[in-house]
Amino acid sequence: MSDSAGDIGGAGAAPESLEAFLADVERRAFRMAYLATGRRDEALDLVQEAMMSFVRSYRSKPPAERRPLFFRTLDNRLRDWHRRETVRRRWLLPWLRFTGAPGEEAADWEPADPGPGPSALADGADFAAAAQRALAVLPHRQRQAFLLRAGEGLDVAAAARAMGVTPGSVKTHYFRAVHALRAALEDYR
């Protein structure tokens, strides 16, 4: 199992000012929330809630500690969203369908897309879309481990703090995420 993802992506040195830090992470935070929810507006709301909560609680933290704390805050919001969504899907939606009320809001994109045809396989845009679809269908913790380790460049300990799990769990989730992405993107190699 490989745990050396720190040199793959990453956002570089921590910016000194809080505004520069948030400006640096906001697009990747939105991507993380969008992959988790599949809905643009909800992703934006969750990122905004995470920013406000982060600034309220951790604005005085040293720059080096900001990244795991911010993504911990966002991850908490995402897990809360998943819990609410699970309840909504399990109890509320069947009842709404039964009563004929307006049902489920459609996702902005469809994770179950079967993928591109053979002629489009070499296209970089299609690879990007396929990569996003593959990430979107990963279990939450696997996707978080991948995005935090490879995307944010957090080491195992920092990713564990951001996810609220043990370092060993981060390694396992990251390994499984890479394995699943490899299988999903096999046609693009």
């Binding site: 697009r27 991507r31 643009r40 934006l44």
Partner: protein, 120 residues
């Protein structure tokens, strides 16, 4: 597939995501910037909780007042008998009154009996 292949795949995925982030629609970028400004405009915790010490002082004063009011006072000679003694005294008086009524009633019934059984 070896670890080098995995790293290459990971690098490609992250590069693709970064490209997508760079090409984010302007309205989403604007909303993210607005969210950031809103978050940074939140008042500092020190300013928001400036009234907290006053709240703590008020709470402490209330607790102290309550403790003074509820603290058991030592008995004083002017206080009269304790509450338990008063209850016993009341019971005794009530019982005594009842006995007196019973005596009166018995005398009345005896007189009534004698009157009814008399020569008239």
């Amino acid at each position: 597939m070896n670890s080098g292949d995995d790293q290459e795949l990971t690098r490609r995925v992250i590069a693709a995501l970064d490209e997508a982030d760079a090409a984010l629609p302007p309205e989403i970028a604007a909303r993210l910037a607005a969210a950031r400004r809103r978050a940074l405009a939140e008042p500092l915790p020190a300013a928001r909780f400036r009234l907290a010490p006053l709240g703590f002082a008020a709470a402490a004063a209330s607790i102290a007042l309550l403790a003074v009011l509820l603290y058991p006072r030592p008995p004083s000679p002017d206080d009269g008998p304790p509450a338990g003694d008063l209850a016993a005294l009341d019971l005794e008086l009530l019982a005594h009154d009842d006995l007196m009524w019973l005596e009166d009633d018995l005398e009345f019934y005896a007189w009534l009996h004698d009157t009814a059984a008399g020569p008239g």
